[in-house]
Amino acid sequence: MEELVKALTIGVTNGLIIALIAIGYTLVYGILELINFAHADVFMLGTAFTYFATELIVRGLGIPASSTLALVVTLMALPIIMLMTATINASIERLAYRPLRNAPRLAPLISAIGMSFVLQNIGLLLLGPSQKAVEPVLPRTDLVFFPSGAAWFGVDEIIVLGVTVPLLLALRWFVANTRQGKAMRATAQDREASGLMGIDVNRTISLTFLIAGGLAGAAGLVVALYYGQTFFQYGLQFGLLSFTAAVMGGIGNLTGATLGGLFVGIVAAMSDRFIEAKWTSVIVFSLLILVLIFRPTGLLAEQASERA
């Protein structure tokens, strides 16, 4: 029982990270009907930037890695990292997708695959071919214990929650309540009509890519700290998980992406714990294929049916 609860906790923590990336897929798909293959690689660059930020903090500024100060400074770097990934994501749209706005559907998709490889190789150039250990800025102190005395969860999980949940709520609020959020929803519904109504479509699309990239950067920071390492192939690994999450929630659906992220996170944690870690990807991808075959509009079909 304790094992189950523990696996569930890990699943929820990972699920929230996956949700942050999945929302990027869903936002872009909602507005452009494009699977942004490069999205997960933007996230990977986020982990790389976090790695360099911690290196700078610990080695450059000489702040001890395990001190609270190091953690606070790293978390203060979050907006900068988000800004960097947001800019990269929006530039990709400008460079590789906008010229193909009126091309056949598969053209931007293939362009996105190309961008994904470009970013992956930039990651390779920055990080080298093997996993890089990130400074242990995030404290691993266990806080809550089971009645039997075994550790349940600790400071690290709480900090992951503290970063991911507010961002997810803020995004929800932004899309639902602001003028720009309204423009995004309108553009997603009908790009031409929104243009006729005076919405600057290109600006709205750029904004969407900025937001998606920012969230990917935040996810990158959380992953780099929580997993304690970064790797140029994280894009492919997390990308497929997150895309599965986005599809499960009904692509284009923000709540769905969050729930899908939690679901994928929990399934992966359960498989890691109770089957074998090497089969986890197989299980998640099989799940993706099954969902696409039997429920291509996602598990929350009603809200998403408009999209599919």
């Binding site: 559907r105 362009s111 695959i113 490889f117 492919l236 991808f285 099989s286």
Partner: protein, 452 residues
């Protein structure tokens, strides 16, 4: 336009339609074939005479030809039927593993490669149908993701089945069904050695002719024959009723169905035929290398084949073959040569002097996919129809689709129609037997201007 109507339907696309030009094409084809046949024999003297140039070795050409077969197979799925398959490597792996299972000491089965080849093709085709049947109703981008997932699943399954234990849960008795630690696929170590193709005829090569990487020249002629078979079949398929059905589906699935084409069967045939060529290439690669490893069948291979098709010209047979030789030559010969002779040392020195370990370890070949990624984006934006385009694909890639006919063409679409007209003048309308008559462009608005 009248020329387009009169042009012989089966002619290979060429700059100017007409008999003399067709003869010229035949001459070019003959020259390419002769060069292909003679090259391994003149490679040594050639590279000795002019050692400064990166001549591709025969082993590189074998890889080029293998990828040409792969690309021709994927071209059926992607170019003819218009379905994006990002997990094409799965069938390559299935073909290679079938060969390894049936012609190695792994299970102690040693069937002649000449028979195993066809079993591998059949196995790949069956898996193609198994994947295709439930997924082909999905839309283009969803299909891309499903196939990507399938490709990863196949690779991971082949890797993981090297060490597998299946047991009933404890409350059902805990009996071991499989294993413990059964080795079905060789896992990370792979399967080695695999029996290469052999012709038991004595000659200057010894008692028997062995087509393995120990004898790249003999293997080159074998793979060239396989490529020729593949090319011929693909050409006949393209010009067949089935080929036209594929292209009709690619252009407009609803309209194709209304014309009486069974879209499900037709797409499934594209998928399984495409898969079977991948199995064909896989059976050759496994036996030629006499070893296989799960990690070589990665997502990157699927993407490389997609890039080959995009660069060569989607739907164009000679373009795809050209793309395979060009890209694999760059990947296996040119980049290593450029790295060793020009780029690596300065980067290494820069890395040492600045203390950057990554630069000190710099190898140009590591970044081959950076080049391919850039090429892919530039091709999509500047020349989506590829270097040797096919008439239909070029028109489609420039956005002349059903939308233009229904809505009335807008500025950029008209410009694109202008390009379609050029193509129709140049080439016989193979892909679009009943293409709409192209209208002359009435505005000068370019696609970029309209996109803003």
């Amino acid at each position: 336009m009248t020329e387009a109507v009169r042009a012989p339907r089966r002619s290979i696309p060429n700059p100017l339609a007409g008999m003399e030009e067709r003869r010229r094409q035949t001459v070019i084809l003959a020259l390419v074939v002769i060069l292909a046949l003679v090259y391994p024999l003149i490679y040594r003297p050639l590279s000795n005479a002019i050692p400064a140039l990166p001549w591709p070795g025969t082993a590189v050409l074998v890889v080029c030809a293998t990828f040409a077969i792969l690309a021709l197979g994927l071209n059926i799925v992607m170019g003819f039927a218009g379905l994006l398959d990002l997990g094409y490597v799965a069938f390559y792996a299935i073909g290679a593993y079938t060969t390894a299972f049936l012609a190695s000491s792994h299970f102690g089965v040693h069937i002649s490669w000449w028979i195993v080849l066809w079993i591998a093709v059949a196995a790949a085709a069956i898996f193609g149908v198994m994947l295709g049947a439930p997924t082909l109703k999905l839309r283009g981008d969803y299909l891309a993701i499903v196939t990507l997932g399938f490709g990863e699943i196949v690779r991971l399954v082949f890797r993981n089945l090297g060490d597998i234990t299946i047991a009933l849960p404890a409350f059902l008795g805990g009996a071991v069904i499989l294993g413990p630690n059964a080795n079905l696929t060789g896992g990370n170590v792979g399967i080695n050695p695999i029996d290469p193709p052999i012709i038991p005829i004595p000659g200057p090569w010894g008692n028997q002719l062995i087509f393995s990487n120990q004898n790249a020249i003999a293997s080159w002629y074998l793979v060239l024959a396989l490529l020729a078979i593949t090319f011929f079949i693909c050409r006949r398929l393209r010009d067949s009723k089935l080929g036209r059905a594929w292209m009709a589906i690619r252009e407009d699935e609803t309209a194709a169905a209304a014309m009486g084409i069974n879209t499900v069967t037709t797409k499934l045939l594209a998928f399984s035929l495409g898969a079977s060529f991948s199995g064909f290439a896989g059976a050759f690669t496994g036996a030629y290398n006499t070893a296989i490893f799960a990690e070589t069948f990665s997502y990157n291979v699927s993407i490389l084949v997609v890039i080959i098709i995009i660069v060569g010209g989607i739907g164009s047979l000679r373009g795809v073959v050209f793309g395979a030789f060009a890209l694999l030559y760059v990947d296996r010969s040119l980049l290593p040569w450029l790295g060793d002779n020009i780029v690596n040392d300065p980067m290494h020195n820069l890395g040492v002097s600045t203390g950057q370990q990554i630069l000190a370890d710099f190898k140009l070949t590591t970044y081959n996919y950076l080049l391919f990624g850039i090429v892919l984006v530039i091709m999509m934006i500047r020349r989506p129809e590829g270097l040797f385009p096919d008439a239909g694909a070029k028109a489609e890639m420039h956005g002349v689709g059903i939308a233009a006919e229904v809505t009335g063409a807008t500025g950029d679409e008209l410009t694109a129609l202008g390009e379609l007209e050029e193509v129709s003048l140049d080439e016989a309308p193979i892909a679009e037997p009943d293409a709409p008559p192209p209208e002359p462009p009435s505005t000068t608005t370019g696609p970029e201007a309209a996109a803003r």
